[in-house]
Amino acid sequence: MIEDPYLGKYITCVSARSTDKEILKKAQDGGIATTLMVYALEQGIIDGTIVAGEGDRPWEPRPFVAMSREDILKARGTKYSISPQISWLKEATRSFGLDKVGVTGVCCQMQAVRKAQLYPINMRDVPGKVAFTVGLFCMENFPYKSLQTIVEDHAAQSLNSVKRMDIGKGKFWVYTERGNVTSLPIKATHKYEQPGCHVCLDYVSNLADISTGSVGSPDGWSTVFIRTKKGNEIWSKAVAAGLFETKPIEDVKPGLDLVTKLAKEKIDKNRKTVEERKTFGVNKALRDPYA
């Protein structure tokens, strides 16, 4: 077990890519989260999983409980807006009748799952029924109107025409169905971030069973942290079943150093924000969520 102040506790870290061509077709990077959840469902490790599917508006995510491969595949790809995954956590055990619930989500949502397990305030049945969690790397998130502002005002593309969005190499990228590629400096998007992200002290989903994201691995691959006993067991079986190609993280560029660098940037900046909140007013503090 490795314990890193920024990357959390993990058993191993690898670079990986799904071997499932259908998943990879619309996956954001290596298709790790989708492949793992499909595998967990098919193996009976979970009965269903909360994923970020499509909402009413273009590129608006909406959480839903997926109980089939087709449903899980609908959630492929990153949507850069807020999807309140945990709103379905208790309902998954009730209306949906799931005994083994999977959850995919970003760092704060993994925190929410663990809090719901350790301090289940009106979360009856949740602690024992969370069977498997896959967390995503997350730097910040955007309210839907922010995303609209970024894509429609800054990148000058209609959200309806967008095929893929991506953040990488210091830029926010917008790819349209007709082949247009627009980018804007990620700096220009900072002011549209959701405020709640600025006190977040987690970059690589430290509390998930397995966490994954593109940073650190080559294009089309993902960096994967295997964190818990349960995560390790599922990962080992999935790799043995041939669902992933893997490479040691030490052998890929840019590697773990970049993950650490970005994690440090985010967490140090946000720690500073939490500190500054303590003396925000004149003899008045803003509330410290970690006090």
């Binding site: 807020i82 309140p84 397990q117 979360m123 992200c197």
Partner: protein, 287 residues
């Protein structure tokens, strides 16, 4: 205790008595599990619907195990044949206090005087909850009109919010209270860390509402749209619109669950990061 003994027999609970909890990381030895060191636990029933007690019972064999190894139920209207409130280590108080009911007022004061730790079990006891909406006029004591959470009359040590509180949270608090009172130094430290946020909730106040999410989370720039509040709401008053909670405030029963459940109300990294170990400790303690 006769009733519980018979439950235990029919459920085969006795066979488990001899088991030693080996998986506890912070080892609980056999000596500290001897009957002499069990803590004294009581359930004090004020103006509540008994849902909290049912929730406690919904721990099933877990409750039997707790009563076998960790706690003696020394008071409880429905479960223990004891008329007057005795000395207790931990008093779980269900329901709010009716000011017009002399007995209730005396009971809560006596509970405070005779208990080391007073736990407000459930939202009526913590925040008033649905009893806040009383206007009196109910047969056959129409003058019973004013209901207050116990924190308005006595000092409360720990809140377990929820309507009803989750069986798992009641279980966790019971195990941690035992470790706090009877455990070794490591166990005491862990229990102290675990219980602190629930003690802080008790210090924070006696009013709970969806409004807390507005005033203490969203207005404070802390909401990140995870949706936990909506999952915790017992009356489904909360929906997420564009990723932020909206409360149907006429539906809100003022149980305070959403605020307590919110990852941005409290989040103690020193405990949360140990989630795997703590889950194992609790599972081990109840094996």
């Amino acid at each position: 205790m006769e009733l519980l003994n018979s439950i235990k027999k029919t459920m085969g609970g006795e066979a488990k008595l001899a088991q030693v909890v080996t998986e506890i990381k912070v080892e609980a030895t056999k000596e500290i599990k001897s009957v002499a060191n069990k803590i004294k636990l009581g359930h004090v029933h004020l103006s509540g619907c008994t849902g909290c007690l049912v929730s406690m019972a919904d721990n099933n064999l877990g409750l039997i195990k707790i009563l076998d190894d960790y706690a003696d139920l020394v008071y409880g209207l429905t479960l223990a044949d004891v008329r007057h409130i005795p000395e207790m280590d931990v008093a779980l108080v269900e329901g709010s206090v009716c000011l017009q009911d002399h007995e209730s007022v005396e009971d809560i004061k006596e509970t405070r005087r005779k208990s080391k730790i007073v736990v407000a079990l459930g939202s009526c006891s913590s925040y008033g909850n649905i009893t806040r909406f009383s206007r009196g006029g109910q047969h056959n004591q129409p003058q019973h009109e004013s209901f207050l959470p116990i924190g308005d009359l006595i000092d409360v040590d720990i809140y377990i919010p929820g309507c009803p509180p989750s069986p798992e949270l009641i279980r966790n608090v019971a195990v941690m209270a035992y470790l706090l009172l009877e455990g070794n130094e490591d166990q005491k430290a862990l229990a102290g860390k675990y219980l602190k946020p629930l003690m802080d909730l008790a210090k924070r106040g006696t009013s709970g509402c969806f409004c807390d999410l507005m005033t203490d989370v969203i207005n404070q720039g802390l909401c990140m749209g995870c949706g936990t509040c909506a999952a915790s709401c017992p009356v489904r008053a909360i929906t997420l619109e564009f990723g932020k909670p909206q409360g149907e405030r006429d539906l809100c029963i003022k149980c305070g669950s959403c605020y307590g459940a919110c990852p941005r109300s409290f989040f103690n990294f020193d405990v949360m990061e140990e989630f795997e170990n703590i889950n194992e400790i609790i599972a081990g303690a109840l094996k």
